[in-house]
Subunit: 222 residues, 2 copies
């Protein structure tokens, strides 16, 4: 975590929210549906983004912002698919913020974009408090992390629109109770939509693609 | 993440290090080997602590500090084994700090403890910057998280004494390249010891127990 010296009285979250509103207005103007994707390290954010690009790129004009503490391996993968992408390296920072996203927006062709996927830093805690200007929040939670994660990291589960429950192909090898997991998540967040998926086998992904396509259409039809 | 308003010029990390030194002196006085255990959410910190308790509690007097954003499920499991345990709930905070550990030490029987296991908050970024007064740092990284984690979260891998590579029982179902992982970790940290283990099958755990027993003995023999 980058530790900054902060002026007394400065309201970090308030300042971030103002900037996020400005990002949102800008994205609204261009009718870009913007999705903030959050998860633990290794839950499958990048795999999910790659699957989404492969399946939807002929129909929907996608752009991507990749947030990482270090490296640009994820952005390289996206770029190989001919998708506009900006890598944000937080240099130790544990989450993206609205300022970083503003900088990235300056380098993306918003007028030619229908869907902006933002891959946040892998972290189940800090990204939740920082809105970026997104329309929707999507969390990825994966079976190997265990079914108790909503109990132990409740805030992010409570604030998301969608939970993608990834790596369901591993179910036979794990003691993961899907019913208990769903019950905990809906207990925290009665409006959430849960999609069980496997990026490896493709199982369940069509429901996610349909939801996303509807949301993109909804943004245009406002 | 809890966002605090901070007095200008306050050196958070410096203040934390001072407090950590005081914790270390106190633990040294009682010859308590103290291990700071860090990982992503769901990598297996609690399972590893439970396995260690089961295997070692007859020989070594263990105490535990459990750090979590919310809940006390982990502390409850430890307590059932008759082990002294303190739960620290960080109320949204993304890491333990030396102040929190100091409070916990006040509730533990240090004079009757040989080994203190501290389970940090599940997070691959923030806990790294905050020393607690530990003798050793141990990271748990699990196969389902992927073999690229050292590249994407380098700081924690660079600063640890031991990497426990957990969930090796899942290898047949994953594309995880153990050689590539080890090469990346030793590239960041040439002194690190890597133990491939499975808390589910017990494979590899004896090497970890032996290392830990030696370290406990080493602390007494100083």
């Amino acid at each position: 975590m980058t530790v900054k010296v902060i002026t007394v009285g400065e309201d970090i979250l308030g300042a971030n929210e103002e900037k996020a509103k400005a990002n949102k207005s800008r994205l609204d103007k261009h009718e870009v549906l913007t999705v903030n994707m959050m998860s633990s390290p290794g839950a499958g954010k990048t795999s999910l983004i790659m699957s989404t690009i492969h399946r939807m790129k002929e129909k929907v004009r996608i752009a991507v912002i990749e947030g990482d503490v270090a490296s640009s391996v994820d952005a390289d993968k996206v770029s190989e698919q001919g998708i506009p992408v900006v890598q944000i390296n937080t240099a130790g920072g544990c989450h993206l913020d609205a300022n970083m996203v503003e900088s990235a927006l300056n380098s993306l062709p918003l007028e030619d974009t229908d869907l902006l996927l933002i891959e946040n830093v892998g972290n189940l805690i800090c990204p939740n408090a920082f809105v970026l200007g997104e329309d929707r929040r999507v969390m990825i939670s994966s079976l190997p992390e265990g079914d108790d994660k909503p109990l132990k990291y409740p805030a992010m589960f409570a604030d998301t629109d969608v939970v993608l429950l990834n790596k369901i192909d591993l179910q036979p090898h794990l003691d993961f109770n899907t019913d208990a997991f769903k019950k905990m998540v809906t207990g925290l967040n009665s409006d959430v939509i849960i999609f069980p998926v496997s990026c490896k086998t493709g199982e369940g992904l069509e429901a996610w693609f349909s939801w996303l396509e509807s949301a993109v259409k909804g943004k245009k039809d406002r």
